[in-house]
């Protein structure tokens, strides 16, 4: 499994369709305070199934939908797609025929939410299943949010066992 690209539209400060492609190796994301860097990370956590608004720095899940700015009014929907390269078989068997797997999540202002894999509607469970045991996911060891790098050291011993279990 490799990241190919991320497509955001109406997600947080990304009011217009934006595509971020991820080549192999190391990608750096830079920019001034408040420009939207951590929002990209939130978008990846969200499309991978994150259910807690607090983990996305919001109060309610509707906080992920573009709320407007001085120049542009709010929108009615947030949509994020994550395109994965199915190169080494770490994606579950049922997707073996596809060279690419596209995961999509949408949220409407009225609270309605949709998930899709390869443009076919699916449930959250299907998305969680796809990332199971890969070491990635909205709460996986490989995602470290801003200001929380020391969290694993501060956490209780019982909470640290999940870290080991994930790698098992």
């Amino acid at each position: 499994m490799k990241l190919k690209r991320l497509e955001l539209n109406g997600f947080k400060s990304f009011s217009e369709k934006t595509v971020v492609s991820f080549p192999k190796g190391i990608s750096g994301v830079v920019g001034p305070n408040g420009c939207g860097k951590s929002n990209i990370m939130d978008a990846i956590k969200w499309v991978m199934g994150e259910q807690s608004p607090k983990q996305l720095r919001g109060k309610g899940m509707e906080d992920v939908i573009f709320a407007g700015s001085n120049g542009k009014s709010s929108v009615g929907m947030a949509e994020v797609s994550l395109v994965l390269d199915n190169d080494n078989g770490s994606i579950p068997q049922e997707y073996a025929d596809y060279s690419e797997v596209v995961i999509t999540r949408r949220l409407f202002r009225d609270g309605e939410s949709e998930y899709a894999i390869n443009h076919k509607p699916c449930r959250l469970k299907d998305i969680s299943h796809l990332f199971m045991d890969t070491g990635v996911g909205s709460r996986a060891y490989s995602v470290i949010e801003q200001g929380r790098v020391g969290a694993i050291i501060d956490s209780k011993p019982e909470d640290r066992r999940h870290w080991i279990e994930e790698a098992a």
Partner: protein, 154 residues
């Protein structure tokens, strides 16, 4: 299962013995189970000794030492079960220049096939990137992506 947890625990401990001294320029790190008799419920304790120090408990670690210890655990786990990608948001905020360099050389030595996405304000970290994305808000409140080269960043 019990055997799988114990064997994973042992391997991560072994990797930690390799990775911690690389990041700290010496010293030791030890993982232990709070309840050896019941591995499926047991918690995991960490005790580290930066070089030359007799640290009594982990809460006394400095901000930079704590971040570096967490990164040692991250990369030890990565060496046991590499995740397809890592997302790291300003993990260098409290690291001094010497530790940033040690972090860089560790990342470059272990990133084989994986993708690492690093959000940072630190020019030395930016130098590591194969691809650099800039996020701007030319129109206030609206994020846009632009491609940047290191020499154009003011």
């Amino acid at each position: 299962s019990k055997e799988l947890f114990l064997s994973t625990f042992k391997v991560i401990q072994e990797k930690m013995n390799e990775v911690f001294p690389v990041l700290f320029g010496g010293g030791t790190a030890k993982l232990s189970l709070t309840d050896e008799d019941d591995p499926l419920e047991s918690g995991v304790d960490i005790m580290v000794h930066p070089p030359g120090k007799r640290l009594t408990n982990m809460t006394l670690l400095s901000g930079g030492e704590k971040a570096l210890t967490a990164l040692a655990l991250l990369f030890s786990t990565y060496l046991v079960k590499p995740s397809p990608f890592c997302l790291l948001d300003e993990i260098d905020a409290f690291l001094d220049e010497a530790n940033v360099e040690r972090f860089k050389s560790l990342v470059q030595s272990i990133v084989r096939d994986s993708q690492i996405i690093l959000i940072t304000h630190n020019r030395r970290i930016m130098e590591m990137a194969d691809t650099l994305y800039g996020v701007t808000m030319e129109q206030p409140g609206i994020s846009k992506l632009v491609s940047v080269r290191l020499d154009t960043i003011q």
